[in-house]
Amino acid sequence: MTRIDRRLGLLFSVFVLLLVVVLARSVWVQGVKGGTLSADAQSQQVENVVIPGHRGAILDRKGKPLAVSEDAVSVFATPYQVADPAAASRKLARILDLPPDQILASLAEGGSGFAYIARKVDLAAAEKIQGLDIEGIGVLPDSRRLYPQGSLAGQVIGTVGIDNQGLTGLEAAHDDVLGGEDGEREVVRDATGEELDRTTVEGAELGEELRLTLDASLQAHTEEVLKEIGRTYEPDGATAMAIDPRTSEVLAMANWPAVDPADFDEADPDDLGNMATGFTFEPGSTFKAFTVAGALEERIVNPGTVFDLPPTITLFDRTIGEAHDRGHISLPVSDILAQSSNVGSVKVGLELGAERFDEWVRRFGFGSPTGIDFPGEEQGIVIPPEDYSGSTMGNLPIGQGLAVTAVQMVTGYAAIANGGVLRPPHLVLDDDSEPPAGERVISRKTSGQVSEMLEGVLAPGGTAEEAAVPGYTLAGKTGTAQKVVDGTYSDSEYVASFVGYAPAEDPRLLVSVVVDNPKGDYYGGTVAAPAFSEIAGFALPYLGIPPDGG
């Protein structure tokens, strides 16, 4: 063997040895330690990020956005990686507009290894935070809900939680439609943190849009009117609704005080509810229309039936008088309603009898939810005839002794206005389906008779003669109900209300206003009826409804 051959042999042996070493190492790394190292690499190099699925937008009937979602970020910390928490919290506080102490407290949660600093941060702030390049501080994609119209229909639209789930209002009721599906993204980084690859494992799905029957402009005007009532009468609360009685589409559903859905946390809990569906009250005189309608439909009376009306009427331990003292008079049924006679209404109710009266009350939908597509609707209180006391029929026909919601009153009045068909009101617009067929509760004739009587309420001599919209014939009824305080009717707290519609001959707009405990004045005719005029005065031309004979 030559010298060169020996050297080659040696070199070969060295290479073989090195190869053996490499093979042994690879067996060790890939075989023995493979699982652990792979898991470590996965956690260090591959980042799985949740892509938030935006909630669908909520739009008004004309497509104007009432609630939309936009990209945002959640700022988080890995506390043990933050070298100087105090300095980091100061820097973050300036961008996030949060107290530094609050951020510092989050950073002090070292044991957890993860802490949220702020949620739903806008993208501009997120960019600044990323620009700080603080180790241990990062951002995660998130989605946040915006309400472009501010507090408009706040209680109706509702709010969403920190994880974008519907909590109240329509956001909660239609969470399954609005809610998007989160996706997942895989980001691979090298040892220096540079992004090598980014793969969408599962795309996020956007929630569906929800189109409401509400009209943003009419809603805004209605809220403005309630705001004025709030300023003038400082009530405990107020609600107003506008619907199309032909279809029961809710055009406006306003509450006072208004609540901004973006700031639900700051709002008074008492103001968060939707008064239109959740506030029950004794309706007072507005209920008399149903007493009369039942009696007319049963053919017990007709509009011309004259009742002899003493100044008061006594039933067992209860004496019922009029709102304003008067002498002995005789009035036809039509004037009983127009002048809102308590004694006359009680007499009509007594003619109807307890059983039939109860039947009519329930037929108009009182005592059970209307079925409006809004969560948490109250059903009111309607006592069964077997629980009536001797004086109950002295209360019920004039709207005392039972509790209703504004939406129940609106639904009942819509049946009177539209020719006798009771339909559940609805807030979600469905262009593809016909309006609900509803259920006929009174004949068209009775409906017309009651409408004619209700026109008298706004005519000279009626209880709401000042409620007028130039050019339009209106029909409606005032209500002034004493509130029950500590089990007895209060002499100082009232619920003022008005329900009316126009044009009286072919109603296309129905408006209800309920004011809880107004201060100063408390009559439905002076507190609520003018508000009705304001709303109807705007809505009728706005909706393109021509006046009578126009």
Binding site: P65, V68, S69, P148, D197, S217, A220, P470, P541, G550
Partner: protein, 276 residues
């Protein structure tokens, strides 16, 4: 099929070989035993010779007519020689090794490996592998950049949609409209005309004569997601056409409006009327 052919070729020392030797011994009988005393270092060929020679005459005489019954003894031998997997593998390995060894010794390989061309070839391969990895990483990076750009654009679009929604909010539109002197008409300030017989014919006649011009009504955008920058950008004012009403200032089904309440509204209510 292969059994009878391969068995005789099997190398001595394999199981088949041993069996064949044993069979040979059985067939040859005393011939093999007679050769036994000649065991010595050089006796191996002599010892095999009788065993191999013994069947040879039998083969030469193996015509169908003359084949004696005992000569059929090779049949069981043939069955014993049938290869089994355990036998094939070593054979295949041996042959492959031989072939590879032969290839390594071939002239082409020698010329390739002892020349300088193989260095260039190996270098090209190595550079190619590296280049492929670099290109792959680069593509990954570009794909990642594109994905990031898409995400950024989606975010931007989402922000712009939200911004647009806020710009179109009722309060803002009403406030701007009020600033421009626009007012909602009072209910009493609007008069409505009922069409009568002949109105349509008269309108058609005036349209034909050019006395009336049809004013196109701007489409009402019902979905904010459908809005584009063009659709919200201020358009060139149309000559001889009134501004199209927005849904915040929808004109009713009127064809005539009463005089405005103040001078500021005069220019805004006298324009063409369109149904909402």
């Amino acid at each position: 099929m292969a059994g009878p052919v391969t068995a005789p070729r099997t190398a001595p020392g394999t199981a088949g070989g041993r069996r064949r030797a044993a069979t040979g011994r059985a067939a040859a009988g005393a011939t093999a035993r007679a050769a036994a005393p000649a065991r010595s270092g050089a006796a191996a060929p002599a010892r095999r010779a009788p065993a191999r020679r013994a069947p040879a005459p039998a083969r030469r005489r193996s015509t169908p007519a003359r084949r004696p019954a005992p000569r059929r003894a090779p049949a069981p031998r043939t069955r014993q020689a049938t290869p089994i997997p355990g036998r094939i593998v070593p054979v295949a390995v041996g042959r492959t090794a031989g072939a590879v060894g032969g290839l390594a010794d071939s002239g082409i390989v020698k010329r390739l490996t002892r020349g300088r061309l193989w260095i260039a070839a190996l270098a090209a391969l190595l550079v190619g592998i590296v280049a492929l990895n670099v290109v792959s990483l680069s593509l990954n990076s570009r794909s990642s950049d594109a994905a990031r750009a898409v995400e950024n654009l989606e975010r931007e679009a989402s922000s712009l949609r939200a911004q647009l929604a806020q710009e179109l909010s009722t309060q803002r539109v009403q406030s701007v409209a009020a600033g421009l002197g626009l007012v909602y008409p009072e209910p009493g300030a609007i008069s409505y005309l009922r069409p009568s017989e002949g109105d349509a014919a008269e309108a058609a006649r005036r349209l034909r004569s050019g006395e009336l011009a049809a004013v196109p009504v701007a489409p009402v955008v019902t979905d904010v997601t459908e809005l584009t920058l063009e659709s919200v950008a201020p358009a060139e004012p149309a000559v001889e056409t009134a501004p199209a009403p927005t849904d915040d200032a929808v004109a009713p089904e009127a064809v005539e409006t009463a005089p405005p309440a103040d001078g500021a509204a005069a220019d805004t209510t006298g324009g063409a009327i369109a149904s909402p």
